[in-house]
Amino acid sequence: MDLSQYKKAWENQPDEKNKISALDIYKMTQAKSTSIVKWILIIGLLEFAFWIIINHFTSGIEYNKVYEELNLTYFFKYSYYLSYIIVVIFLFLFYKNYTSISTTDSTKTLMRKIIKVRRTVKFYVYFNISISIAAIILLNILIVNTPNGIETLLGIDQSNTDSSNMITIYVASQIIGAIMMILILLLFYYLLYGLLLKKLNKNYKELTKLEELN
């Protein structure tokens, strides 16, 4: 079979009926781009703002007094600062990715850069999840090592005995709580970034096909 007859049909196809006028083209160029990389940057910024607001409003809550009694205020304070610094670093990387991507690159270079975006997002998600797990573990080590830590945390009268049973319940509920929190985080990130990255993932596979012969 010969493609040349189809090629001829292609060459003879009429011009687009709905010609866009110069004025409409001008209006279009004034609109905002909706590219994937831009959305990753925007969502990253919104997420950062979201956590700051959450932390701001929860810091004044009564419950934190328990942490004060357990001398954990500094632990929370510094872990917040640390995570802010790291999130700012990631946002900077998102921004750099965003500015380095240009449609005037060759398709392969462009895709390489997009894969870098994908990797940055992946690292960011893994980082956030592992830091949550580390925080939970560290927090529990600190509480368990504080005399009457668990009792204080749960607000239970210390004279009340049967503490071994209580510790079992405490540990079990901590583990279940931690697993649930991580699942929620994973769902959160899947909805935020997973859906956006689906298409990038598909193109990544196509890129590897393109490179097979190089």
């Binding site: 189809y6 609109a31 905002k32 240009s102 449609t103 690159d105 060759s106």
Partner: protein, 164 residues
């Protein structure tokens, strides 16, 4: 008030807009998606126009930016292959005297290309637009030899879809 740069850009783009329309036709399947992609291509072209030196032809540059936008940066994924919108490439009214072979071939061709993956779409598009292998290789960022091999494979795939 438009600057000189804007005026030149609009003249260049308006004269070459058919390239963008063809890219939109092969990468999208309905009018809304077509318009969205067209707009994104316009934004990308304008955003980079100041860097366009004019040492290449505007149209050559436009092929690259339009394809890259369609392949990598276009967000909406309404690109599942459907045959329902095929009528938009049937341009002339069928009549008994009029030979519509070419028109049917064009419709079949669009439909076949739309079912291919993003990279194969780009290869076939550049072939149909009669681009030399050197330019195809530069646009995609692969070697000329590689472009030839990939092109032959893409053409074979296309033939299979057109005549299973």
């Amino acid at each position: 008030m438009q600057t000189e740069l804007e005026k030149n850009f609009l003249l260049d783009f308006e004269a070459n807009q058919n390239i963008a329309h063809k890219v939109c036709r092969i990468y999208t399947t309905n009018q809304d998606a077509h318009n969205d992609l067209f707009q994104e291509i316009a934004i990308q072209l304008w955003k980079n126009y100041s860097k366009f030196r004019g040492d290449a032809k505007f149209s050559t540059w436009m092929y690259r930016v339009a394809l890259n936008t369609a392949i990598s940066l276009y967000r909406k994924s309404t690109r599942t292959v459907k045959t329902q919108d095929i009528s938009d490439v049937t341009f002339k009214i069928q009549s008994s005297e009029y030979d519509n072979t070419e028109e049917l071939q064009l419709a079949a061709l669009y439909n076949a290309i739309r079912s291919m993956n993003d990279i194969d779409k780009a290869l076939i598009f550049l072939y149909l637009e009669d681009k030399p292998y050197k330019e195809i290789a530069e646009t995609l960022g692969i070697t000329e030899v590689n472009a030839r091999v990939k092109m032959n494979r893409a053409k074979d795939k296309l033939k299979k879809i057109l005549k299973p």
